[in-house]
Symmetry: C2
Subunit: 303 residues, 2 copies
């Protein structure tokens, strides 16, 4: 990998006594394409404290701005003194034929994996970007972050990303980033068994669904069974009014079954179903305070 | 005016234990054009209580969705048990030549006035719509709202709208809607003296700037001087990092001078300047909790 240079600062917005900083950098893992991400720094960070980091992965069609705008996360992150990092959902501008044809594949739909199939493998590597290159870029930006205390959460495709990046870090002996906790709003919890995941894995991966199992939260929980010293700190919220839940794109029931089969408890991997709530950011923002609190307790205890 | 028929319900999103309802109706005051607005109903309303109403007027280029998405208002409104009503910023689809040419005039820029100049006077009547027809539509929708307890707030052009609708209701002996309090984020506080207001008033009003004085918060505060029994309940927040403040589009200093000249106190009309904050919803959401609390105290005391 080429050496990491400091990202360019595009803008700063004061918010909740801290600030939201927008940064941009070419990413080696994305074939050299420029990518943009937002970082919320709480007051404590502006005053020079190294604060823990909570990554947020957004869902299909979204970008790095969606959650800062609509998630309602900054207020509680400010109160807890933790930083938030919002990357994009895919590379932009790879100029691949068909890249912009569908809303659930290509641009805005990177699925947080490392592509192994042409013509995607050069650019569509959000897994590598998030777990490895993004932390290097944050370090190169000289932001007051304690990257050794990182957690991750996300929505829908990003909920899938958050769960899988966390679970993969537990399965690895030397993860690029070790996440201390994970949470998800309406995650695609068993992508090898649903239409969105089927399309993504067959599209991006030379090995198709079989290769996709390493990016499937339900599969990964099964792989953790009996592994010594593994504790889980996972929170999942899903609305039963969610059309994608009803269409079996999310399949939290499979994640629950895998958890139970692997011998993990509901307090290690909590899956809460909520009547009436849908897939929108109106759902997310409602449960945002609980998710920030969940991660803040873990991150602050790790100091 | 034709009789008011019940608005059509377009969608419902559960949020913060309440729900956001999107409604649509043809508006007589907007030349019969269909307009869309959002209503947030807290849990108390879903349970059948008649809750007080806080109207939010959005700024240039925005619509009825901007603030529900980005404002961070629903959480505190839910906690306080007050409803929020989010109308659009202008009529849509009047099909007037030049209507979509500029971002600060025409579509998305209704300026909360009653147009008196051709070709705008048939449709561009957001003042009449907000103060008179919208409450009738809310009543016709049979929502559990106590419309006798209404307050109003807004941002930028909508801050101008909130302040002027409130102040005009104090000056009127029989206002269509009597607002109990008003607040504004970065309002255009003296539009007859700034480029945005100059363009709007000369464009929409046959009497130009002179007619525009009745839609100018700084002018209206002056008119309230010495009026018996008038109390003010107004809160204004402005960021000094706001480019439009710096460009003299907002002129809160003129509002302060008018307040002082009219003998009102800073607790009756508070104008707070905040370093670093800009014109964005990152600024608004930061001060959202304080604005909701300000109105909730007034609205709940009025029961």
């Amino acid at each position: 990998m080429s050496s990491t240079t400091a990202p360019e600062k595009l803008s700063t917005n004061a918010s909740f006594d801290g600030e939201l900083v927008k940064l941009s950098a070419p990413a080696n893992s994305l074939g050299g394409l420029k990518t943009t991400f937002n970082v919320f720094l709480p007051r404590q960070a502006l005053d020079g404290d190294k604060v823990p980091v909570l990554y947020y992965l957004a869902g299909l069609t979204c970008n790095e701005d969606t959650a800062p705008w609509k998630g309602g996360f900054l207020r509680d992150a400010a109160a807890e003194g933790i930083a938030l990092v919002f990357p994009d959902t895919s590379p932009r501008g790879a100029d691949i034929d068909g890249e912009d044809k569908d809303w659930d594949f290509g641009t805005g739909a990177g699925f947080y994996l490392t592509a192994s199939k042409e013509p995607w493998k050069k650019h569509y590597n959000m897994y590598e970007f998030i777990t490895s290159e993004l932390p290097s870029l944050l370090a190169a930006a000289s932001l007051p972050l304690d990257l050794s205390r990182s957690s991750i959460f996300g929505h829908s495709m990003g909920g899938h990303g958050a769960l899988t990046l966390y679970l993969k870090s537990l399965l690895s002996t030397s993860p690029s980033t070790k996440y201390l906790s994970a949470s998800a709003f309406a995650p695609i919890a068993n992508p090898t068994q649903c239409p969105w995941g089927d399309k993504a894995f067959k599209g991006y991966l030379a090995g198709g669904l079989d290769e996709g199992k390493q990016y499937d939260a339900t599969e990964l929980v099964g792989q953790l069974k009996g592994k010594d010293g593994v504790d889980l700190k996972v929170l999942v919220d899903v609305g039963t009014g969610d059309q994608f839940y009803q269409q079996k794109q999310l399949l939290p029931e499979n994640l629950i079954a895998a958890r139970d089969a692997a011998g993990f408890s509901a307090s290690q991997l909590a899956v809460n179903l909520h009547e009436r709530y849908d897939h929108s950011y109106y759902f997310i923002s409602t449960f945002a305070p609980a998710h920030i609190k969940f991660h803040a307790e873990v991150l602050k205890a790790a100091k």
